[in-house]
């Protein structure tokens, strides 16, 4: 399992490839890989967004993500899980979050991936600040999905 919070640019597809290649012990064991990649859009609630600042609580954020990943692995028959989340300044089109799950069959992969994303949205200590033409604002609530 790899859980990371990072200030550096995220290339989700390269990360998935690199991680899968590093887990050669899983070759032949997994039949399913489910992934979710979240990307910053340039529009929210009717306003153009030029930049976003993603704040976190160093220590607690990582801890909560680890707890979350462990829950997913305990609840579903998952072979491995990769979770990387950006923090800091983001521009439209920047990948923000990556969740990848490997399992023998597709049910667990889809379910675990979904569960991690939904829980992350409601529990993980991150706060988004959007920069608009008219100034900046803190996002009040998550979209429904």
């Amino acid at each position: 399992m790899k859980i990371e919070v990072s200030f550096s640019a995220l290339d989700p597809w390269a990360e998935i490839k690199a991680y899968q290649e590093s887990r050669m012990d899983l070759n032949g064991k997994f039949g399913a890989t489910a992934c979710f990649v979240g990307t910053m859009r340039d529009f929210n609630e009717g306003d153009g967004v030029s930049k976003m600042i993603l704040e976190h609580y160093p220590g607690m954020t990582e801890g909560q993500l680890e707890k979350l990943a462990v829950t997913a692995v305990e609840r579903f028959p998952v072979l491995d899980l990769l979770l990387i989340h950006r923090v800091g300044e983001l521009l439209p089109n920047d990948p923000i979050v990556l969740v990848a799950v490997w399992s023998a069959h597709r049910g667990a992969a889809f379910d675990a991936c979904r569960m991690v994303m939904e829980e992350l949205k409601s529990n993980a200590p991150f706060w988004k600040k959007e920069v608009l033409a008219s100034g900046s604002r803190w996002v009040e609530k998550n979209t429904a999905g």
């Binding site: 993603l54 991150f126 999905g145």
Partner: protein
């Protein structure tokens, strides 16, 4: 409240609620507030002791879509 971090004496503080009282006498914190003690989610009734890190923050808005 004008600062992100502050250290206060622990004397007489037994719960998160006491800490909140001690740092926010003029009730500047409005809206929904979440609590954490030593980086675990907590409630106003959660006990605190000397050396604990208590955090107050708004509802989380992370992930992406």
């Amino acid at each position: 409240m004008g600062y992100s971090e502050i250290s206060i004496p622990a004397d007489g503080l037994t719960t998160v609620s006491d800490v909140l009282e001690a740092i926010d006498k003029t009730r500047t914190l409005t809206g929904t507030v979440l609590y954490a003690v030593n980086m675990q989610y907590a409630k106003v009734t959660t006990p605190v002791k000397d050396g604990d890190e208590v955090a107050f923050f708004p509802p989380v808005t992370g992930g992406s879509v």
